[in-house]
């Protein structure tokens, strides 16, 4: 038993060979090691966090609970898309506020117990006239990519007259050109990055005659690195004319450029020429001049070429060319990444065009592989693939393959941001809704909703339509409660759809409970709309069809009294209801009233029917008269409304 009396919580036992050398002389007994050698295998080298990573790989996402960033409590779990967004962003706003307070009161945060020093916990250094500046400070700031601080330090050092080497100027030029003199969104604000929509308008945002160009001018020798940095920056921010000018300058002065610069020019080739042919010609020119200069192309070249092609995708030759490009680059040994496949999909799977099965070929190629981010446009692949499976190929099988790929290893990181994630699931969901039978679809529904994906109202409408088609009414209570949680109850289209689905239900003896539940739903719709705040700007207002469906449902499910309340409200506040209650609803109510021998209701129904101008009102009155004995008052009312001939006819 090798368990020793040990201190501490996580003991690490080491078996140590008894050192022969510690023995001296006169050792009588046989403590010699036997001739049989005990071989201890070498320790398997592992990184400091390897064990944690191995244990983490045994855990995957649980769809019954909220995302771990939310507090795990039933009352604090967000249901609708809006509340998810609000919760995460407000939590982050708190972090931002904390950081602001810390930076404002930097004098109070001097306690430093951490060893090694954690810079992120400490107030940010501010640089002003008094601070001790040197080239090293500027270098560090450039390394940390704090653009505004670097610019401040640069300007301060200019005013103080501190000498800076050309290397630092080059580094600063690269930084400023890449970020266009603006600070990027801090990497700590993960939620804001997650919810920010990455699609920015394609327009020229380059700061003309800004710091980048100033730095460029102040460089003593404008070498290929300087030109490269400036061209790349200008191309990134769509200052294409100036970028092209600089490129021409380089050509004249025979300054070599590197692959990245050529890539950025290829990307914006579409803005430099008008017709499709000329654009492709320009791209080919750039590629040939790249080859002539002896610059070897890389993955970026492949992606930028395909991006240029995707911008001329309506051109007849685009598809053919894209395949040729891929083949040629493969022969050079450059493997495509997810961004490449994304561009291929945009080129081949167009809305108006022949169906292309390229996605299936792509999936065959990349199934089961794990991907790392290699190009910013990698995140577009999964959304586009799901879009193509839904709209272009309309195949759930392909969609499931894409989904499986997404959930392989760490590939989920490549979903991009929340917008892309929601669109991805929207396509998947809608495709599953239209393809699968209702039971299978509800399985997917229960898995994804509400924590991984909350359906938008449009998607919810499709689900309701599917339920209506399959007449799967047992799912309606769950869907209604979900709709309440998702805050869809203020959408009149959805409400009217719910009510119309409810009317299709025919109650029977076996499912009394379901009948009750559906009646509750109908009544809940009524109460919610009635109890709306009067001053809401997008109020749901009743229309005749909705009231009709409501009445039908209530009567069919046996809630006669409630239907009377609805009818009363409809007659007294008829001006609030758009349109008239359809006649079949009135007939159903009338029949129910006759059965209950409720003459009052029948009379009011008849009056309403007359107001509405329904032809069948006369029939209803006749039926009423034949079945029930009317009091004098009722008879008087009816006769005044319908005329005495009608009454006399029936008697």
């Amino acid at each position: 038993n090798m368990a020793g009396t040990l201190l501490g919580r996580k003991p690490v036992k080491l078996l140590q060979r008894f050192l022969k050398s510690t023995f001296c002389h006169d050792v009588a007994s046989s403590s010699q090691l036997s001739s049989e050698k005990i071989v201890i295998p070498n320790r398997i080298p592992r990184s400091p966090t390897a064990i944690l990573e191995a244990l983490a790989s045994t855990v995957s996402r649980d769809s019954s609970g909220p995302h771990y960033k939310y507090h795990d409590d039933p009352y604090l779990t967000p249901g609708s898309n809006l509340s998810k967004r609000v919760f995460s962003l407000s939590k982050e706003a708190g972090r931002k506020a904390a950081r602001w307070i810390r930076d404002e009161n930097a004098a109070f945060f001097t306690h430093r117990p951490d060893d090694p020093f954690i810079e992120a916990f400490f107030p940010k250094m501010t640089y002003n006239e008094e601070s001790n500046l040197s080239e090293e400070t500027l270098r560090e700031l450039i390394q940390k990519c704090s653009v505004s601080d670097a610019i401040t330090v640069y300007q301060l050092s200019q005013s103080k007259g501190i000498e800076l080497s050309d290397n630092v100027y080059q580094e600063l030029l690269e930084l400023v050109a890449y970020y266009n003199c603006e600070d990027p969104l801090d990497e700590d604000w993960v939620e804001e990055r997650w919810y920010r929509q990455g699609v920015t308008a394609v327009r020229n945002t380059w700061k003309d005659n800004g710091l980048a160009e100033e730095l460029f001018k102040s460089l003593s020798t404008k070498g290929s690195a300087a030109y490269g940095a400036l061209i790349r920056g200008m191309a990134q921010y769509y200052q294409v004319d100036r970028a092209w000018q600089l490129y021409q300058e380089c050509k004249e002065k025979n300054i070599p450029l590197d692959a990245g610069t050529y890539n950025s020019l290829i990307r914006v080739a579409s803005f430099l020429r008008d017709s499709f042919d000329l654009r492709w010609q320009l791209v080919k020119e750039l590629l040939t001049s790249m080859a002539e200069s002896g610059v070897s192309p890389n993955l970026g070249t492949l992606n930028c070429t395909l991006e240029a092609l995707s911008q001329v995708a309506t051109w007849r030759q685009a598809k053919q060319l894209s395949l040729q490009v891929i083949a040629e680059f493969k022969s050079l040994g450059i493997q495509p990444c997810l961004a490449t496949y994304y561009f291929l999909l945009t080129i081949h799977c167009r809305e108006r065009g022949p169906i292309s099965r390229i996605l299936i070929d792509i999936l065959d190629h990349i199934e089961g592989k794990q991907f790392e981010i290699e190009d910013p446009k990698d995140t577009f692949f999964f959304v586009t693939a799901m879009d193509v499976s839904r709209n272009h190929l309309q195949s759930l099988e392909v969609a499931q393959r894409v989904d499986k790929l997404l959930h392989t290893g760490n590939n989920y990181c490549l979903i991009g941001d929340s917008f892309k994630e929601s669109i991805y699931y929207r396509h998947y969901f809608a495709l599953a809704c239209s393809t699968l039978i209702i039971e299978d679809f509800m399985e997917i529904y229960n898995d994804l909703v509400p924590h991984i994906y909350t359906p938008e109202p449009g998607v919810m409408e499709e689900v309701m339509k599917a339920i209506s088609t399959h007449e799967a009414f047992e799912y309606l209570p769950q869907l209604w409660s979900d709709m309440i949680v998702f805050e869809h109850t203020s959408r009149d289209r959805l409400l009217s759809l719910v009510l119309s689905v409810l009317t299709k239900y025919q109650p029977s003896e076996e499912n009394k409970q379901l009948t009750k539940q559906l009646a509750t739903i109908a009544w809940d719709v009524w109460t919610r709309v009635q109890e709306q705040d009067e001053t809401r700007h997008n109020k749901v207002s009743w229309n005749g069809l909705m009231i009709g469906d409501l009445l039908t449902t209530l009567v069919q499910c046996g809630e006669y009294d409630k239907s009377l309340i609805v009818m009363k409200e409809a007659t007294t506040n008829a001006h609030k209801i758009l349109g008239y209650i359809p006649v079949n609803a009135l007939q159903i109510l009338n029949n129910a009233a006759i059965e209950k021998e409720d003459a009052e209701t029948c009379v009011s129904v008849a009056m309403y029917g007359l107001d509405a101008g329904h032809q069948e009102t006369g029939e209803m009155v006749k039926q009423l008269q034949s079945k029930l004995n009317l009091s004098l008052e009722h008879q008087a009312k009816l006769s005044s409304a319908f005329g005495t001939e009608l009454l006399n006819d029936s008697s």
Binding site: L7, I38, R43, S57, T58, D62, D72, I118, I484
Partner: protein
């Protein structure tokens, strides 16, 4: 409420302004009431404010709450994903209807919702057998096979008699370091040290309470150096020195007196002399085993202390010796 006839609107509004400037409370309701009466001929002038009308309490909007998590969980779900790490008991996530606590009189055992008793105790919901199995499978790739030839405890003791242990600590706090990580413990069984009597006695005197008599193990703990490597070296240094010192015999060790002896030695003791006297005075020769027995019993009495069994054995032996047994 005074009703003044013939008050013009202008005068009326002036009165209101006067009322406001004199801090006379005019509620909105009275104003609207008055406004309604403006069209009539006679308006009422209110100098005293109406009684405070209690507004109805604000109706709190009930939030649309998602049902608790356990209701959504399938019966065959993967529990390891729901409860991946040690966590305080969370009733909404655990699908079991557990109850704990002493019930109030006439009540049932308190259920899991808001149950402090359940939250206080440690739970092992993160270590269900399937999860343990899965984690072991994941960790197998870091493990090397156990070396052959040291399967049994005896072999381990034979080839690796010394055991050194130290702890490392993982902190989720600003500082990574923990001072306790420098402590190194060395354990060795004295059997494997091959000491003779003198050596063992000397060693035990040197180490005092670091020796555990029940397990016959020497434990050396070193924490005086800042680094564990230094403490480790120090432990082995101590072991070396102890062993060497206990093998040596110092010249002054012969001055060891009877009182210094770690155990009672029969030879040359007064009890032996007394026994000899008794044997000599005895006419019949006392049998050998009685003598041996007495010797043994006296040694036990001195070495193990006086307690019920030793005293009773001594008494029996003496009785036999004296011939009364």
């Amino acid at each position: 409420m005074l009703k003044l006839g013939g008050v013009t609107p202008r005068l009326y509004s002036q009165v209101l302004r006067l009322a406001a400037s004199c801090n006379i409370h005019t509620t909105l309701s009275t104003f609207s009431e008055l406004k309604a009466e403006e069209n009539e001929e006679f308006r009422t002038l209110e100098l005293r404010s109406k009684k405070f009308v209690r507004q109805p309490a604000r109706v709190m909007k009930s939030h649309n709450v998602v049902p608790p998590r356990y209701k959504r969980q399938k019966v065959d779900q993967d529990w390891g994903n729901v409860w991946p790490a040690a966590r305080t008991f969370h009733p909404a996530s655990v699908p079991l209807p557990v109850r704990q606590g002493y019930p109030a009189s006439g009540q049932v055992t308190p259920d899991k919702w808001g149950n402090a008793e359940l939250m206080k105790i440690p739970n092992f919901l993160h270590l269900t057998p399937p999860v343990i199995k899965r984690q072991c499978e994941a960790l197998k790739k870091f493990c090397t096979p156990w070396p052959s030839g040291i399967e049994t405890a005896a072999e381990q003791e034979k080839y690796f008699p010394v055991m050194v242990s130290k702890s490392t600590y993982l902190h989720s706090s600003p500082t990574l370091r923990d001072q306790k990580a420098r402590i190194v413990t060395l354990r060795v069984s004295l059997k494997s040290l091959d000491l003779d009597d003198h050596g063992r006695d000397k060693l035990l005197r040197l180490v005092k309470n670091r020796h555990d008599p029940t397990t016959d193990c020497l434990t050396i703990v070193a924490d005086r150096c800042p680094l564990s490597q230094q403490n480790y070296d120090y432990c082995f240094y101590l072991l070396t020195v102890l062993y060497n010192e206990s093998m040596k015999t110092e010249p002054w060790e012969h001055e060891k007196e009877v009182a210094d002896r770690e155990r009672y030695i029969w030879e040359g003791s007064p009890s032996q002399a007394a026994l000899q006297a008794i044997i000599d005075s005895n006419e019949d020769s006392t049998p050998e085993e009685v003598i041996e027995e007495y010797k043994k019993v006296v040694i036990d009495l001195h070495n193990e202390g006086e307690d019920e069994p030793t005293l009773s054995r001594y008494r029996d032996s003496v009785m036999k010796l004296v011939g009364l047994a």
